[in-house]
Each structure stands twice: as C-alpha cells, then as structure tokens.
C-alpha cells in the first residue's frame, strides 16, 4: 500500500514519517516515532490505554488515523516528566498513592487526568469519577487512581468538594 508523508509534532518534537492511510495514530506513535509509552489494550476504543492529547483534546489514539493528525500537535506520556526523568506532580501523586500496579493502563490514565486538570472547570468527586470511568484498569480497582488524581487536583487548587 502507498504511504503518505505526514508530520506529527509529539511532545514538541517534529516527526516526519510516511504512513499507510490505514495506520492508526497509536501505531504511528509506537512504531514510527518509537514512543511505546502509549499502550494498546483493545484497539477498539474501549479501554483507553492509548489515550493521548491531540491539539489539547483527549482522544483514543487507536481510533484515529495517523494522517488525521498530520500537522497537529500530540502529547503523550513521554512528555510529562522533565528530560532528566523527574516526575511531574501528577505522576508523583500516582507514585505516592500507589495509583498503578502493572502499569499498563497508567499512560492512558495519566493523559486523561492531565486533560481533566487542564480544563477551566473545577473537579469534584462526581466529575472525577465520570471522567476517569472512560478508561479501564484491571489491577487497582480504581481506588488509588482516584486518590492520586484527587490529590493532584487539590495541590493545584482545582478541587472542589461539592458540585
């Protein structure tokens, strides 16, 4: 199949790659850009392990074609820590609160929570649960993921007790 040249700007770095029209954004990130932090748990849009931010919007990378992202900016889990590996406050909250076990779903949850915490709207318990229920985790029973994101929201003054 013929390949189309596209440019993806991932975590601020431009990647000029050539992809088949059917290549998903997730596969392009993993295989063409070498960014394997974005995981694939179902490839049919349910689990959210592949969650990334596309021009600031939270999307499932398995449901987007790479060519749809041509010329656009993408943020993935690899862009969260500083280049020397220091965890950002959200990652740190996941660490301190044991918000991960096997870690396979973690990149997706981190990107989903990153988006949540960057919205104007303050976060309360209902919104937290509602938004985080779009991804699946098989290990944690969600308790400590919720705790970690709650703590991160509190730390930046985004948390509110009642709706």
């Amino acid at each position: 199949m013929t390949k189309t040249p596209i440019r993806l700007t991932v975590n601020g770095v431009p990647h000029d790659i050539a992809v088949e029209p059917r290549r998903t954004l997730a596969d392009a990130l993993r295989d063409d850009c070498g960014l394997t932090g974005t995981h694939l748990g179902c490839e049919h849009g349910v689990c959210g392990a592949c969650t990334v931010l596309l021009d600031g919007e939270v999307v499932r990378a398995c449901l987007h074609f790479a060519i749809q992202a041509d010329g656009r900016t993408i943020r993935t889990v690899e862009g969260l820590a500083t280049p020397d590996g220091t965890l950002n406050p959200l990652q740190h909250a996941f660490w301190q609160h044991h918000g991960l076990q096997c870690g396979f779903c973690t990149p997706g949850f981190l990107m989903l929570a990153t988006w949540l915490l960057e919205q104007e709207e303050p976060v309360d318990e209902a919104r937290l649960r509602h938004v985080l229920s779009s991804n699946l985790c098989r290990c944690t029973g969600y308790q400590n993921i919720l705790t970690a994101v709650r703590a991160a929201a509190q730390a930046i003054g985004k948390w509110t007790e009642a709706a």
Binding site: R23, L35, C42, H98, C102, R138
Partner: protein
C-alpha cells in the same frame, strides 16, 4: 530503622509512570510479525489449509510443518484424570472457536493480517459440545478418545458417617448454584517475541508470562531442544491474574520459528483473541446439601461440583485445578464434622479453562455463604449468629479434607465487620427505603484463603509437574549493593519493593541499595512464579533466609576487622557496629572481593548466598460486607458500600496490600454483576470485544473500606499470609447475599452469577 511494614512507594513505579516500561510489544522493533489463523468452528475436521498467493518472504506454518514437535499434555496422577493432548497446531481436528490452526509470518502485523485473510481454511464442521448439559447428555459426541463421556477429572471424597449426619439432621438445606464463565482480562493481552542469537545459537523468548522457568522447561521439552539454549524473559507484564501461568501453543510456535528460520518473530495478541482464545475460568455448577441441627450447628455437607473446563487441559496445573480446589476447600472456615463430595471436569468445545485469581474459591464462597443465609432463614436464626456458631475458633484445625488451618481470626474478623457495617442502622435505612419502593440489601461473606503453599500441597494433588518451593540467590557486589535474584516472577504485585524492604531490615541497608532481579531465566534461580498468593510468603521467606545468611557473613568479616565477636556485631545504617566502633558495609564488600588475603579464610572470596523455602501453607481470612440498591424495574444493581476486614498476618507493605485488596474486590464485584463469557449454542463466542465482555470502570466500583487485622502465621517465616486473591474470593458472595437481602420482599434469592439486570428482572417477574 524498620523498613518492613511501611507504606513505602514502589521502586517499580517511576519508569512505568514515564511510559518507559518495557512490555513485550514495546520490544518488537525489527521482528517479523506472526498472525495466527484460528478455527471458526467449535468442532470440525481439517480438510486442507492452502495459501493461493503467498507473497514472497511470507510464511504459512501449519501442523504438517511441525513434524517432531510434541503435544501439550499435562499430567495428574489422581482423581481419575485423563490426560488429553493439545497439539501446538492441529493436523486433523479443531476443538474450539479460536484454536490456532496455522500461523502466517510477514514483515509487519498489517501484512500478516492481510495475508491471513487470503488463506483458505477448509474445515468440515462437526456437532459441538458446548455446555455442561451438552457434555453430560447420553450419546453426546466425545471430544477426546482418551476421555470417554468427556470426563477429564472425576474426584470423590466420602466420609462414611456423612449419611448418618443427614439422617439425624433437624433441617436439610439445599442449593444449586451456577457461576458464569469469565476471562481474567489482563489489560495487556498475551504477547511473545522469540529471537535467535546467531552468535550463540540460543533463543530468547520474551513473553508476557507469569512462570518463566516453567515455560522454558515446557517449550524445550515440546521442541526437543536443549533447555540451556532457551532463555525466557518476562519483561514488564501488564497483569496476569492466573491467565498467564499456562503454556499456550502460541509460545512454542514462536520459538520453533526462531530456531527454524534463525530470526526474530513477534506475536502480539489482539483483544478479540484474548477474549475467545486465551483461557477462561469459573464456569461451574454446584449442588449442595447441608445438614443442620435445630440450634444451627452444621452437621454435614454434600457437594456435587461440575466444571466446564473447555477443550484442553492447561499446563502445568491441568484442568483439574478448578473442580479439585472446590473439592478440597469446600469446608471453608467452618467446623464441618463430615463431608461427601464429587468433583468433575468436563471437556467441551470451548476455550480451555485455566486458573483465574481465586480459582474455584469465589464459587465455593458463593455457595457456602448463600447456604449460610438460606439456612439462617430456614432455621430462624440470625445469619451472623449462625456463622459465629460454626466458624472454627481453635487452631490448628484439621478440615475433613485434611487441610490444616493455622492461627486465624474468623470470628473476630466477622465481629469487626459487623460492628463497622452497623447493621442496625442499615436495617432502619432499609425499612425506610422499602416504604419508598426502593430495595436496599446488605450481604456478608466470611471466608479463608489458602495461601503460600509449597511443594507438599501441590504434590498432594498428584500433579505431574509439582511447583511450590522458591529459591533466592543473594549477593553483595564489591561496591556494596545487594542483588536479590528470585525465581518468582511478579507482574504488578510490587514484590521488588516488598522484598527489598525485607532484605533491608536483615542487612541494615537502605532499600534503595537493594536490587530485586526477576523474570529472566538466565539471571535467576529455577523457581515457580507469582500465583496462588505466594509471593510475600514464599519468595519473602526465601529472601529472608538468604539475607540472614549474607548478614552472618558480613558479621563474621566485620568481627575480624573490628576485632570483636561476630555475635556482638549489629548491622544498621549501612554499617557493621561493635559498640561505638563501626565499619561501612561498602568497605567490607570491597575488602572481601579485593583484599581477600585479609578475609578469605573466613567464608571464601565472595559475598554470595542462596536459600530455599518451601512452606506448608497458611490461611489468611477476611469478612466482606456489601450494601447494594436493586432497581426492581430495571434489575440494575448499584453497590453503595463495600467493606473488607482482612487478616493476612504481618503486612510487609500495607500500601501494596491495600492495592491487592482493592483490585481483587473490583474483579469480584465484576464477577458478581457484569462479566460473563457467552457462547451461542453452536459454540461461537458472543463476547469477543470489551463492548460485550464488561470489565468494570470507576463508575461501577464504590469506595472500598479496608480494616486490617494481623494474626501472624506461625507457619511462615515472615509471619505474612498471602492476600492476592482474597478480594476476588469474597466479593461475589457478599454481593449475591446483599442482592438476595434486597429482594427478600419478592421471596427470591440469587443462585446464579453474574446477577445481570436481565437475570434479576426474570427472578422478580417469575416471583410476581
């Protein structure tokens, strides 16, 4: 400084949080892609497999290519087990939808998929056997000639005085229950990458697995290759829950490809394959009869256990694992004077069964705890009082199946749970809600969990391959760090952190100086893996023993250098102390290795030790309480509250322990309400995506409250008991009892899980 027992964040986490973990699929660059062709029929005869236009460079592998490759055929020498053989790729017949029948190799996964679609698979369908009833029906087809009547296991335990107990009973309570089929559904599906090393002729299989050493032995045996030429690496593994214990046919095929074609071959399972063709669990039907005295004393129990274990038998545990665990552990935490039971495994044309967190105990606990509630109603006794009357209170206690229950807190945990649940306040709420036409319910489940059992327990099952012990090699480097090499293979349980905490205390070192190495057969001693809630107990015990031996060496060396007696030396803060005098452990390590003329007469030229541990096992225990609201119109169940009183002995790291309970309970709630693998009558799976098979999201899992009790086990070195499976074991029963309590006004109760909205609506409809 005591590191053990602290809520230490895990050393595993930072890389995973940066997206820098290395899962098998992350390592696939440069490998050729493998796509399996899977049987579209539940039963059938293979007529031909042909590739009309195979592009150059691509490969099609069928069973005919695998001359000399053995079949997967695990053994069990008891319970009328019939060994059945699973070919890596079949040549004659297919036995379930999803069974791999051929493999296509191409440069990329997309190409391999395209080519796979062009392959002509000519299979003549045959009549399938799908359900337990199908398998038992007289005249039904036989899957395997070796197993007449599709009976793969038929085990019996019968105490001679059981009938007398029933004859003398004031009340006999009966229950028939069904448990739906489940898939453990790790978020990372299976994956394997086999790479041939031309320099050495060795093959490295990187696989998302739970038992790397067992996999190595198994594959080498099947392929008739030198085990020494095969290395298995379990890199980061995205959950297993038992599903990744088994030796699946896909892995030997990858190694075969790498050997034959001297290259790298990668298979990454997709979710559909995982849902239909990895391993299923828990499809069981139990019939129970219990004899009670009028005062509520349990006099005897009869159980008839049927398990649909699918088309083949999983290696190494065999498909006996489910029915036989139920057979051995039905008495649970209760004093049971006499017992009679039969447990059968039935072969059907469905995906093979394998262990899933808790194995049979979620079903057993569902049975026992439903039985207790039914008996309480029949006898007019409070369900808590009935349980209290029958729970074991004196330890050690030998069960009617010969298991020894060590020190535990069955009654105490129940009492704590009842107190924390505040049942009187709940009853008031329940009454008020009923007046508004809302149905609240509260359910209890008390259970024990057999954990950390070594070789004797597995040997008693008559297994051909007997797992159990763990070996730990420990060594201090010349620079003073400690490497702990374990045969066990954790995948999310945080063992790297917990074992470092244990070793840190024994060696007086900071845990950050300790590296726990696992999941690589080249770098770790032969061992079994992480399953059956054994990590903290067995790998923990072996780590403690090994660390103590290393500490003794360090003390002897320090005594020489400090001119003191070894017994007077204390290890703390990274140094060896004799009173006020001290020497850093780094200095001792350097001198042992590099100034050996000073010390080698003591213990030789290194600081390496090895230790083994093989305990008999210990029972942790817990009481779960669920509060639910049932919508009588829609049949929908909302879990309002979930409380766990857990006693897992000494906790090495409570942060990790809580996480294990949370995750287990979530799986248990899903077992009770959501997850069910369904087959059409022709054996076609109906739940092939995560839109049909429903793991829970954060919306379905309530806050989980945990209260820990710590009855230290006299049976384990660390005092710890396992707790990895408990959450999964108790939650289904607690939820089923809570729904039954809510539906009491309709006179119905729950005997089938998952209690889906459709099932609940049907119950209510039929009651009205």
């Amino acid at each position: 400084m005591n590191w053990t027992g602290r809520r230490l964040p895990r050393t595993e986490d930072p890389a995973l949080l940066r997206g820098e973990g290395a899962f098998t699929a992350d390592l696939a660059a440069g490998a050729r892609a493998v796509r399996f062709l899977r049987s579209p029929y539940a039963a059938g005869r293979i007529l031909s497999i042909t590739a009309p236009d195979l592009p150059p460079g691509a490969l099609l592998i069928t069973g005919a290519d695998l001359e000399g490759v053995g079949a997967i055929r695990p053994e069990l020498f008891r319970f009328n087990y019939r060994a059945i053989a699973q070919p890596v790729l079949p040549r004659e017949r297919v036995h379930f939808v999803g069974q791999p029948v051929a493999a296509v190799v191409a440069a990329t996964p997309e190409e391999a998929e395209d080519i796979a679609e062009t392959i002509l698979l000519d299979i003549e369908p045959e009549d399938p056997v799908v359900t337990i009833d199908d398998a038992l029906r007289p005249g039904t087809p036989t899957l395997h000639a070796e197993a007449p009547g599709n009976l793969v296991v038929d085990g019996t335990i019968r105490h001679p005085d059981c009938e007398a107990a029933f004859a003398r009973a004031d009340r006999i309570v009966e229950l028939t229950l069904r448990s739906g089929r489940q898939n453990a559904t790790p978020m990372e599906a299976r994956a394997g990458l086999a790479a041939y090393d031309r320099a050495t002729g060795r093959i490295r299989l990187t696989a998302s697995c739970q038992m790397p050493h067992m996999l190595r032995t198994g594959i080498a045996t099947l392929l008739g290759m030198a085990e020494a030429d095969l290395q298995i690496v379990a890199p980061d593994v995205g959950g297993g829950f038992g599903q990744k214990m088994a030796l699946f046919p896909e892995y030997p095929l990858l190694v075969w490809l790498a050997r034959r074609h001297r290259g790298s071959f990668c298979w990454v399972e997709d979710r559909n394959e995982n849902l239909i063709a990895s391993a299923h669990s828990r499809e069981q039907r139990h019939h129970l009869r219990a004899a009670f005295a009028a005062d509520g004393t349990l006099l005897g129990l009869e159980a008839d256990i049927l398990a649909n274990t699918g088309a083949f038998s999983c290696y190494p545990t065999t498909c006996g694992v489910e029915p036989l665990m139920a057979l051995a552990e039905y008495p649970g935490p209760y004093r049971l004077p006499t017992y009679a039971a039969r447990a059968r495994a039935l072969a059907t044309n469905t995906c093979p069964a394998a262990p899933y967190r808790g194995v049979s105990r979620p079903v057993v606990t569902f049975g026992l705890e439903r039985l207790m509630d039914r008996a309480a109603a029949a006898l007019g006794i409070d369900p808590v009082a009935l349980r209290r009357r029958n729970l074991v209170t004196e330890f050690p206690h030998v069960t009617p199946t010969g298991l020894t229950l060590d020190q535990a807190s069955y009654v105490e945990a129940l009492d704590r749970a009842v107190e924390a649940a505040d049942i009187p306040a709940f009853r008031t709420r329940q009454q008020a809600a009923r007046r508004e036409g809302r149905y609240l319910g509260l359910g209890l489940a008390v259970f024990n969990e057999r954990t950390g059992y070594g070789t004797p327990a597995f040997a008693a099952r008559g297994m051909g391959i007997v797992p159990g012990y763990e070996v730990v090699d420990i060594a201090m480097t010349p620079a003073g760090e400690v490497e702990v090499r374990i045969g066990a293979s954790p995948h999310g349980q945080g063992l790297r952190t917990a074992l470092a905490q244990l070793a840190a205390d024994r060696l007086g070192l900071d845990p950050s100086r300790i590296r726990v190495i696992h999941g690589d057969t080249d770098r770790t001693p032969y061992g079994w893996g992480s399953f059956a809630s054994r990590g903290a107990v067995i790998a923990g015990g072996a780590t403690q023993l090994a660390a103590d031996k290393l500490a003794a060496r360090l003390r002897r060396a320090a005594a020489r250098l400090l001119q003191a007696e070894p017994e007077s030396i204390a290890l703390r803060d990274g140094a060896a102390w004799a009173g006020e005098a001290s020497i850093p452990l780094t200095e001792i390590a350097r001198r042992v290795h590099q100034r050996s003329e000073q010390l080698s007469d003591l213990d030789g030229f290194n600081l390496a030790e090895t230790a083994q541990y093989d305990p008999g096992g210990t029972f942790s225990n817990a009481c779960h309480v669920a509060e639910v609201e049932v919508d009588a119109e829609t049949g929908h169940v909302r879990v309002l509250r979930f409380l766990v009183v857990e006693d897992a002995g000494r906790l090495l790291n409570p942060l990790i322990a809580d996480g294990q309970v949370h995750g287990g309970v979530a799986q248990g709630i899903a077992n009770a309400l959501l997850e069910e693998v369904l087959y059409a009558p022709d054996g076609n799976p109906l739940t092939g995506s995560l839109a049909d098979y429903l793991p829970p999201s954060a919306a379905e899992i309530p806050p989980i409250e945990i209260i820990h009790m710590e009855t230290e086990s006299p049976e384990t070195l660390t005092g710890a008991k396992g707790l990895g499976e408990g959450g999964t074991i108790g939650a289904p029963a607690a939820i089923a009892n809570a729904i039954s309590d809510a539906l009491a006004p309709f006179g119905v109760d729950i005997t089938e899980l998952p209690a889906t909205p459709a099932r609940i609506r049907a119950l209510i409809r039929n009651a009205r």
